[in-house]
Amino acid sequence: MDEPGRRSAAAPLSRRVEREAAKRAKARRNALIAALSSVVVIGGLAALVLTSPGWPTVRETFFSWSEFKNAFPEVLDGFWLDIKVFMVVEAAVLVIALVIALIRVNGSPGLFPVRILATVWVDVFRGVPTVLLVYLIGFGIPALELEGLPTSPVVLGGIALTLSYSGYVSEVYRAGINSVHRGQTDAALSVGLTQAQTMRHVVLPQAIRRVAPPLLNDFVALQKDVALISIIGPQEAFRVAQIFQGENFNYTPIIAAAMLYLVITIPLARIVDRMGGVGGVR
């Protein structure tokens, strides 16, 4: 015990200095390697694109500044519609999906038929491509010619997105609910809470915290999928951009629409990252 103790006491300073110098050297070397490899990869890709035979044409048809200026205000207008649809659909999805998840985890026999319906709902609407749902509902519902049913393509598109995403999101909720440890339910029941109070005050708060990152992830996806309603007519960003593109045979408006999406989805993705880092029970 004596020997190593004395040795470490004798030379702590010099060893520390040495180690810190080594750490700094390693950090410098890593930074240099990262910088060099970035230059090689990004520079190589840029060179490949810029020297390609078609580049002058592509620059003109995809990245035309005048086209951009011309189309941007209307594409932005269209994008507001995307945002509005997104907000309404998101709110509806959060509520409907939670109801479906709660029905599916509830074991009471009285709810059996509703439980079957909820399962079918999830299986069908999650199992059909969203684009098909938009198409079927957008053209199918008006074809019924029933009094009182919505005919606005924006509303119908929103309904299709809500159906599709509530299927996905209810499964996220359900996974969260099932991930809360049995001991939590036991403890809540043991202090005299009812099943419903246990769900409301103990299980759900923990479940939702835990699934917040995947929930947000689904909302990034929803934000993008709003563009799918364009196939039944509403003049949202992609649709507007397509109209410009059709008129002038120039794809720049589509790039403009893509950039607008990125402005929303990149910050959302960073939030997801941060939540994933915190994660856990909190």
């Binding site: 403890a187 005299g192 809470l193 005050h201 103990v202």
Partner: protein, 256 residues
């Protein structure tokens, strides 16, 4: 099992012929057992002998297959009895604490009071603070459970179980998940409850503690109570072969 006990009064908990199986595996085979008012019964036995299951059955967290359980002379295992109402009259402390991680320490203690007993927030929080102080947790009210040591968490769990002014407390190996140096503070809290006459069923591996605090020790072996009586007799001069073997194994492991 009644009679001849100093602390004994009317039975608070009576377990009669309770049988419980999980699928094919029968965990309790006709357990008879009762706890008088102000009495502490230590339930000892190897892991898997059914101690936890028995406590869970008493709190109606498990449904029994046969037999009956009575609380203050009323049957509680009848399908017509509301389990919620029964659980409000009992308190449970779990081996793994099972505190609510998304709530503060104080919220953990008052949740049952506020939601189940419909107490006002002010009143419930006042009582909760007093309880926490009593178990040495003054100043930790606003912490999250994961900021506390295991011993502190288990004391919060005891305060939470006690907050509902239960007729009896069921303690399920409350020190088994703790580092050895934290066991003492939790046992001190249990001792404190015992000294004020709390009726308790204590499933435990701590024989020294059982000897000290329990009025009666019941030895559970393969789902049956093989032997029960005063601690000095069951732990000192066990009559049943199984009890002797169990105690000998504990002695080897240095825990008796």
């Amino acid at each position: 099992m009644a009679g001849g006990r100093g602390a004994g009064g009317a039975p608070v908990i009576e377990v009669k012929g309770v049988t419980k199986a999980f699928g094919e595996r029968e965990v309790l085979h006709g357990v008879d057992f009762d706890v008088a008012e102000h009495e502490a019964v230590a339930l000892i036995g190897a892991s898997g002998s059914g101690k936890s299951t028995l406590l869970r059955c008493i709190d109606l967290l498990e449904e029994i297959d046969d037999g009956d359980i009575f609380l203050d002379g009323e049957v509680i295992t009848d399908p017509s009895v509301s389990p919620v109402a029964v659980r409000r009259r009992l308190g449970v402390v779990f081996q793994a604490y099972n505190l609510f991680p998304h709530m503060s320490v104080l919220q953990n203690v008052v949740l049952g009071q506020m939601r189940a007993q419909k107490a006002g927030r002010r009143e419930a929080e006042e009582e909760g603070r007093a309880l926490l102080a009593r178990f040495g947790l003054a100043g930790r009210e606003d912490d999250r459970p994961d900021e506390l040591s295991g011993g502190q968490q288990q004391r919060v769990a005891i305060a939470r179980a006690f907050a509902g002014k239960p007729r009896a407390l069921l303690l399920d190996e409350v020190t088994s998940a703790l580092d050895p140096e934290l066991v003492g503070e939790v046992l001190e809290a249990v001792r404190d409850l015992k000294s004020e006459g709390m009726t308790m069923v204590i499933a435990t591996h701590e024989m020294t503690f059982a000897r000290e605090v329990a009025d009666e020790v019941a030895f559970l072996h393969e789902g049956r109570i093989v032997e029960s009586g005063p601690p000095a007799q069951v732990l000192g001069e066990p009559r049943a072969e199984e009890t002797r073997k169990f105690l000998a194994r504990l002695l080897e492991a240095g825990r008796a």
